[in-house]
Symmetry: D2
Subunit: 211 residues, 4 copies
Amino acid sequence: MCRASSLPFAIPSPLRYGELAGGTGHAAYGTITGMPETDTDTGWLSREQLRDARDRLPILYVNLVPVRVDERSQVSSVGLLLRATEQGQIQRELVSGRVLYHERLRDAVLRHIERDLGPMALPQVPLSPQPFAIAEYFPTPGVTPFHDPRQHAVALGYVVVLMGDCTPQGNALDLAWLSPAEALELAATPEMGGGHGVLLRQALAHLGHAV
Amino acid sequence: MCRASSLPFAIPSPLRYGELAGGTGHAAYGTITGMPETDTDTGWLSREQLRDARDRLPILYVNLVPVRVDERSQVSSVGLLLRATEQGQIQRELVSGRVLYHERLRDAVLRHIERDLGPMALPQVPLSPQPFAIAEYFPTPGVTPFHDPRQHAVALGYVVVLMGDCTPQGNALDLAWLSPAEALELAATPEMGGGHGVLLRQALAHLGHAV
Amino acid sequence: MCRASSLPFAIPSPLRYGELAGGTGHAAYGTITGMPETDTDTGWLSREQLRDARDRLPILYVNLVPVRVDERSQVSSVGLLLRATEQGQIQRELVSGRVLYHERLRDAVLRHIERDLGPMALPQVPLSPQPFAIAEYFPTPGVTPFHDPRQHAVALGYVVVLMGDCTPQGNALDLAWLSPAEALELAATPEMGGGHGVLLRQALAHLGHAV
Amino acid sequence: MCRASSLPFAIPSPLRYGELAGGTGHAAYGTITGMPETDTDTGWLSREQLRDARDRLPILYVNLVPVRVDERSQVSSVGLLLRATEQGQIQRELVSGRVLYHERLRDAVLRHIERDLGPMALPQVPLSPQPFAIAEYFPTPGVTPFHDPRQHAVALGYVVVLMGDCTPQGNALDLAWLSPAEALELAATPEMGGGHGVLLRQALAHLGHAV
């Protein structure tokens, strides 16, 4: 079973913070600490290059709804990441991240799940590349229900079943498993801002839940 | 433009009522007057035969969400039928009805739209037979969010754009056009019981709305 | 791993044959032996009652594409049932069967997989009830690409990942695992008649394959 | 009705050719003349900037399948663009193009249809942003069925119904309307290279056709 980590709401180290000042995840808004947006491990883009691209092109993302299911594939719980904003607020998030150059969507899904939930999460990538929804994040609020002050991003939404042990990694303080009903309720609050709550509710509607 | 009918909430005539005691639409629950369920005009099934089948087989339905769209195909309004129950309550409904023997799904969509909204509604049947959702109506409440005391019905959900003039027909007292926001709100009330509200919200989620 | 059974193309026993003369699966056409269509174990419908309903109502089915996937959820092989027709011809089929009264779609999927592939197949029911396709089988050939001389059936198509050991049961002579490329080729031949080949190719298209 | 243009296979003027040497559309491969890739009219990216981004990020596209439908929304014909490659070969293409910074997907669909088919094509943008397929174009052949030597592009596939008069614009030499059967056949030939043929066949599978 995938246990929620017992990590306290640790304050990221200054070094880490400095490295990541730009923020990265969708809901991050450049204010949530700790999301290694510039993929320095892969070296695809320098921070300047990424900022440059963001001023000129829509950036492709995946937005992932981690779930556990029972033996009939009914969702028993939804996994939400807990992050702290720079202002010290707690934010609930989906697993989210960019698709890299020359990276297949399947590999982007696996990489982001591993980055946030660890190498033992055993994710089941969706069979079909058809996403359940497309989220258009605009830097201008109000154009769509999705908003990202850093950029124009277009995210493909997928539900990902986790079969293994999840240990929140990197900048995620914790991972909380909620029942679908709890998740639906939380998704309607400001704790899931910027559109992640909207996408979560769309996901549960797609899975047949009353939303 | 498709105008809402100016019909008052007329009480159906006793004759009509007697004819239709069995009820018919999903949300009808055998209590909403006026839905000619036995399709006596087509003569496919006698009422007894239909009751018989309903005790033994899931019955195939289509559940249709009538919408008007702007020039970019964004939903500008959602059309909901107004019906009176036998108890005199007002109920809001989607367009809904059975698929007949040897009838194509496309033709069932067209037939039910014409039956409820008249011959000038100019519906656009969805291009793909893939429904946006499947609603499983059980005679036992609580098995799914969908409930129909008369039968086990499985409905394919489709969004149908109307291009023409709608005039509520048959047992529909009226047709109301609501903004997506109004429709979402109404869909969460008991005025849309039995599951039609749930399906409507799933439809709007599928179309990209925040639900 | 799910091994193809080593059963030869055994001729069903007369008793069995007699019991099942009505045939049952979609591609069966009433001519393929061995599909226990009347669900005598569940007692939902006598054969006469089912025949009666078939003359008057579309019958709801599920059509299931059994697959094995690699660790990135890419289809590595497709499982096809082998059946003998009464004329002694070999037919390749998807797993297919009726949805029973008061049965959820998820349960129908699990039941039919177990009936044909045994109790250790460990199927993953799709997360969402939204099917990848709807197959409309008409008793009249040519109305759609799907044909079933026995009835008007409407089948919801799902791809089902199998995680366990498959042992062909009941009337299936054998189960063959083919690569997606082999399956696509076979699906275009008369060995997959009545529409199962069409649905299989639609499934692989949906999964992103070149068809 | 949307008539196919009577334009001969005109050779683009040198000036035009010079302007567009970089090529642009998916199937263009940098070799098909005439697709104004750098959107000089909108001024979003200089050619150098776009080339730069292409070396580092997946570029977001829409791939559009233009169709005409009958009154039951069954596809009666598929519209394919005719282009000449620099080598003088004729290529059939879908309508395809980039999504611009701060552009909604709906607007990108409308813009590219107008660019290729003129202002009177009266396209119906799909109701839902959910694409029927995702095409991952890699600069390296063989990674997926989709190939674009210029870039890593991820295209959202949509079917677009055209209600008006189409007049091939810009770099399209002509627009041909084919029956679904003819389109399926053509889609399997080298005349529709790079993946447009694959996507077209996936689209027709999604619409319920036998592929």
